[in-house]
């Protein structure tokens, strides 16, 4: 299948002599939410980095119709302005003086143009997204003083102020407690349903896959091994084989969870 906002064909990503990701074919149509799952080190984050040109790849990587590998620095920067990318690693520096509002405004920095000041409507957009994600009361607080969940939401706001055609999220709930995990999942569901933005969500916890997710890609040992509807991919046998533990996949209200098989709860 081709003609999506993301198209990969015969893609190979190498780290030194080792091939760390192989994608024979993967296409994401506009307005779809695809969750990319797999064990740690499977190549999920590499896939996202390849899409935004942070990782060089052999083969054809097309994002919004452009061949990422062929783009020069300026063209690549322009492409990235249409793609909201939320990396897994948070910028953890306690001394950083930036406010949350300033961090969210980073999303408008490339779009405003090199050497030009952010305009009134850029800041309006920043404030609107802070308000929409319930972060307005924290706008002028130091980003470094916020909790991990608040920071993560701030980074989603930073990506959304770009008005992106594609939103790429790398483990957006990593290291968050249950309450914040659910807030983030709820935010993603709302964004997808209200804006129909194309989303690629990398996660290794099945619990964070939103109920509205209609497609799953399973990455294992540096290759996309399965791609289809969640119900088809998330079988107990496949999960047990993947993680080497006897597991059972349960579904409740459109969400998934995995529990060890056997034994009665105590």
């Amino acid at each position: 299948m081709t003609g999506g906002v993301i198209d990969l064909r015969n893609v190979r990503v190498r780290a030194g002599r080792r091939t760390i990701l192989v994608v024979d074919a993967l296409s994401v149509p506009r307005g779809e939410l695809v969750a990319v799952i797999g064990p740690n080190g499977a190549g999920k984050s590499t896939l996202l980095k390849t899409l935004v040109g942070f990782r060089r790849a052999a083969g054809d990587v097309r994002v919004l119709g452009q061949a990422v590998g062929d783009l020069k620095a300026g063209a690549l920067a322009r492409l990235r302005r249409g793609v909201g990318y939320v990396p897994q690693i948070l910028a953890e520096r306690s001394e950083l003086p930036l406010t949350l509002r300033e961090v969210v405004a980073i999303g408008r920095t490339g779009i405003a143009g090199l050497g030009r000041r952010l305009r009134w409507d850029d800041w309006q957009r920043v404030d609107a997204w802070l308000h929409r994600l319930g972060l307005a009361p924290l706008a002028n607080q130091a980003y470094s003083d916020l909790s991990g969940g608040e920071q993560r939401k701030g980074l989603i706001a930073k990506a959304m102020v770009q008005n992106p055609e594609i939103l790429l999220l790398d483990e957006p709930t990593a290291n968050l407690d249950l309450a914040w995990r659910e807030r983030i999942v709820e935010t993603l569901e709302t964004l997808f349903q209200e804006l129909a933005v194309t989303m690629v969500l990398v996660c290794h916890d099945l619990e964070v896959i939103p109920a509205c997710c209609g497609r799953l890609a399973l990455v294992e040992d540096g290759a996309v091994r399965a791609d289809g509807k969640p119900g088809e991919i998330l079988t107990s046998d496949r999960m047990a084989r993947l993680y080497g533990v006897d597991l059972e996949v349960l579904r409740r209200n459109g969400r998934y969870t995995v529990v060890p098989k056997g034994g009665e709860p105590t």
């Binding site: 620095a73 990235r80 490339g110 607080q141």
Partner: protein, 280 residues
């Protein structure tokens, strides 16, 4: 005293410019946790000046090889990809610092073969604020102006880069272009300041005003403004204290800027305790 102040005017001007320009750089260098960039750049400049001297250059022309070496080092540090090299930027700085220092000492070791003294080599680069002239100030003014102009022009890009180069690049910021420009300017400002003002003072004026500002204010613009102010206060205040008390100038500037960090940390601590008390 009026006559004395007039006599010391270029020194006061140089202290203010050094404090302001390095205080401004410090916001980004400390904000990005790469304080040893200054140490690396200065030793690279020293190596460049030493080999320039061995090549027959003298006086202000020595700034050319010093600047070239400083630039090469700063760009190697700033543009290298830690993932590709499998080395953190601090590891890279350790490598470059020792390499450039080794080269500088090698060059100094070769001085006697060329009929020169080692002290002559060190004097090429490690200046002293007390001996500043208007000619030195004239060199510092355009560089400081260029630095301020750069930060004003690329204010939002530098803010994004300070937060995270990866996040900035992901938002479509031309990180390599802007960061390279900053490194070029930083190298020039640091090299000239080392030559005119001296090493230890520059390290302290780069790190301390920014560290103090980060304790007291939030926001990119406020941090820049306060760091520049505290840098200027340290440069001028330290000199005036030294002049009045007949103490070493460089040491007083370093001690004053360090004291400002301690005071800022205490004020921040007191403010946090006050806010916690109000919340309770």
């Amino acid at each position: 005293m009026t006559v004395e102040l007039g006599f010391w005017a270029p020194v006061i001007a140089a202290g203010a410019l050094a404090g302001a320009s390095t205080g401004l750089l410090g916001v980004y260098i400390i904000g990005m946790r790469i304080p040893f960039l200054g140490v690396c750049v200065s030793h690279a400049a020293l190596a460049g000046a030493v080999f320039g001297s061995l090549g027959g250059l003298t006086g202000q022309t020595l700034l050319v090889p010093a600047l070239a070496a400083a630039l090469a080092t700063a760009l190697a540090l700033g543009l290298s990809n830690p993932r590709t090299l499998r080395a953190d930027v601090n590891v890279m700085m350790g490598f470059l610092f020792t390499l450039t220092m080794g080269l500088a000492f090698l060059g100094i070791g070769l001085f006697p073969r060329f009929g020169r003294s080692a002290g002559e080599a060190l004097a090429l680069l490690w200046g002293s604020l007390t001996f500043c002239s208007w000619r030195d100030v004239a060199l510092m003014v355009p560089l400081t102006a260029a630095e301020v102009a750069f930060v004003l022009l690329f204010y939002k890009e530098m803010r994004a880069i300070m937060f995270s180069r990866e996040h900035a690049a992901a938002a479509g910021v031309r990180v390599a272009l802007v960061w390279s420009g900053f490194l070029v300017l930083a190298s020039a400002v640091l090299t000239v300041n080392f030559k005119i003002v001296g090493g230890l003072m520059i390290y302290s004026l780069m790190a301390n005003p920014a560290a103090a500002a980060f304790q007291l204010v939030r926001g990119h613009g406020r941090a820049l403004a306060l760091a520049v102010t505290l840098g200027t206060v340290s440069g001028v205040g330290g000199f005036l204290i030294a002049l009045l008390a007949e103490l070493p100038t460089g040491a007083m500037i370093v001690i004053l800027s360090s004291a400002l960090v301690a005071v800022a940390a205490l004020l921040a601590q007191a403010n946090r305790a006050l806010q916690a008390g109000r919340a309770a």
